[in-house]
Amino acid sequence: MIELQNLNKLFNQTHAVDDVSLLVNSGEFCMLIGSSGCGKSTTLRMINRLIEPTSGSISINGEDVKSVPVEDLRRKIGYAIQGVGLFPHQDIFENIATVPKLLKWSKTEIEQRVEELLTLFHLDYETFAHKFPHQLSGGQQQRVGVARALAARPELLLMDEPFGALDAITRNYLQDEMLRIQKQLNITIIMVTHDIEEAVKLGDKIAVMDKGKLLQVASPIELMRNPRDGFVRELVGGDDRALNLLSLVKVEDVMTPIADIGKKPQSQHLSDKDNLRDALSRLLWVGESSLPVINSEGKIIGNVALVDILAKGKKQK
C-alpha cells in the first residue's frame, strides 16, 4: 500500500504539486493522468525520491520512504521511463542484471532471473541476451526497460509514460503485456500517462491531475460515468467516451448464454474475453446484428446482439 499525504512541491515560486493525497492499494494498477506540466511526473518521482517534496509524506506499506537510505529505497522500486535509458555500452543481459548486481545476488541467481524475465516478455534468451540496445527496435528496448525495472522482484513499479514514444500497434501490444504481467506477478503499478484511452484500458484506478492538484480519483467506469465538472469532464468527455466505456466491459458479461448445441462456430464469431468496443467494431464490419460467442476451447457459449452492446454504451442516469 502506497500512501501520499498532503504532498507539495514548489519549484521556485510555482506550485508544481499542490496538496496531493492519494492511496494506492497493493496489487492495484493506478494511472496518474493529466496534461503535460500538471505535476504527475513530479508526483511519481517523489515516490522514489528522485525529487524531494517541499512538504508532505509518502509511505510504502506504512514505512516512510525517508526512513531508508535513498539508494536502498530505489533498488526496491522498479522504475521505467519513456526514454527507456538502457545503458548503451552494456548488452541486454547486463542491463537487466543491473539492480540484482547492486544487491549482490549470486551469478546463477542473476542468470536465472534474466532468463526468466526475457521469457516473460517473449524475448528469446539466446537471441537477445547478448545484443546491445541499439540493435533492438523501440518496442523491444522498452520491453527490456520494463524487464530491467522488474529484475529485483520489486513489489512496486513506477512507470513514467513508458509507451509514449512508441507507434500505436507496439503501444497496444505492450499495454496488453503490462496487464498480463501485472496480474501474473501481482505487483502494484503506478503509471503516468496523458492518454485517457491508455488510462481506461490499464487502470484499476485513475487519478486525474491538473495544475498540480489532484482533481478526482476513481475507477475507470466511475470516471466515465460521473466525471467532476471542469478538467475531468473535458478529459473523459470526448466523442469516444461511449467507446471507452464499452472497452471496459467484456463480451461474456452481456451475452445471452446458450447451451452448446455442438454446432461448429461460423467463420465470424466473438470471443468471450473480447471487450465490447472490439465486439462492436466486428459487428459493424461484418454487417451482422448479432454474432455467436465462443470460449477459449472454441465452443459456442452464447450470443451477443448489437442492441445489447448499444445499451451498455449509453449515458446512464
Binding site: I81, G83, F87, P88, T98, V99, L102
Partner: protein, 240 residues
C-alpha cells in the same frame, strides 16, 4: 576500397621508417649526405637514437599522464552539481594554459626548477590540459539524459553512476582529447632541448647551431614520424 587500406599503409610506412632510423640511422647516410655542407657529418652520433627517442617519448608520457589525471579529475568535478560553479573558472585556466606559449613557460620555469627535463614537463603539462579537459566535459555532458535518469532511479550511487555509466560512455571522447594532446606534445617537446632536456630536439638544435641541415631534417622527420605512429596507435587502442 583502396582508400580503406591507404588509411593503414601511411602509418605503417611511417612506423617502418621510424624503426629503421632508430635501429640503424647509417642506412640513411646517403640521403642525409645531400643536405650536409662542407663535409660536415651527415649523421648525428653524439647519442644512440634509441636513447634519444626513448627520452623524447618518456617526457611526453609523463607530462600527458599528469595532464590526463588533472584534466579528467577537474572535468569530472565541474560536471558534478557540487562543482558546477567552478566550470567557468576551470575553463578559463585551461584556456590560459593553452594560450601561454610553451617557450615562455620554459623561460619562467628555468629559474625555478633549473635546466633539464623539469621545465619542459611543466610546459607540456600546461599545454596538454585543454584538449583533455574540454573533451572530458563534452563527453560527460553528452551522456543521454534518460540513461542518467534510469541509473539514478535504479539506485546507483553517485560513484557507481560515474564509474559504471558516465565515464565508460564518455571514454571515446576523452581518449580523443588525450590523443590530440599527446600528438601536440610530441612536437612541442622538441623545444625542451633549448633548456637541456633530452630528446629529438637536441638533434634539431645541434643542426641549427652548426648550420647543418642534415641534423635538422633527421630530428624533424623523426618527430613527425613519431607523431603519426603514436596518433594511429592511440586510435587503434581507443574504445569505439
Amino acid at each position: 576500397m583502396i582508400l580503406r587500406y591507404l588509411k593503414f599503409v601511411f602509418p605503417l610506412t611511417a612506423l617502418i621508417l621510424l624503426v629503421l632510423m632508430i635501429v640503424d640511422i647509417e642506412l640513411f647516410s646517403g640521403f642525409f649526405g645531400y643536405f650536409s655542407k662542407n663535409s660536415a657529418p651527415a649523421i648525428y652520433v653524439r647519442d644512440h637514437y634509441a636513447n634519444i627517442v626513448g627520452w623524447h617519448l618518456f617526457t611526453v608520457f609523463i607530462a600527458s599522464v599528469g595532464a590526463t589525471i588533472v584534466a579528467v579529475s577537474v572535468g569530472v568535478f565541474v560536471t558534478r552539481p557540487a562543482g558546477e560553479a567552478f566550470m567557468p573558472l576551470a575553463k578559463m585556466l585551461a584556456n590560459l594554459g593553452q594560450t601561454f606559449p610553451p617557450i615562455a613557460v620554459l623561460a619562467l620555469c628555468v629559474p625555478l626548477v633549473g635546466f633539464g627535463m623539469e621545465p619542459i614537463l611543466v610546459a607540456l603539462f600546461l599545454y596538454g590540459l585543454l584538449p583533455i579537459f574540454e573533451n572530458t566535459i563534452t563527453g560527460l555532458q553528452q551522456v543521454p539524459k534518460p540513461v542518467l535518469e534510469a541509473a539514478r532511479g535504479m539506485g546507483l550511487t553517485q560513484g557507481q553512476r560515474l564509474f559504471n555509466v558516465e565515464l565508460p560512455l564518455a571514454m571515446p571522447v576523452i581518449v580523443a582529447g588525450i590523443r590530440v594532446s599527446v600528438v601536440i606534445n610530441i612536437g612541442t617537446v622538441a623545444i625542451g632541448s633549448t633548456v637541456a632536456a633530452k630528446g629529438l630536439g637536441e638533434v634539431i638544435i645541434a643542426g641549427l647551431l652548426t648550420d647543418n641541415m642534415a641534423f635538422v631534417l633527421q630530428g624533424g622527420i623523426m618527430v613527425a614520424l613519431l607523431a603519426i605512429v603514436i596518433d594511429k596507435a592511440i586510435e587503434i587502442i581507443s574504445p569505439s
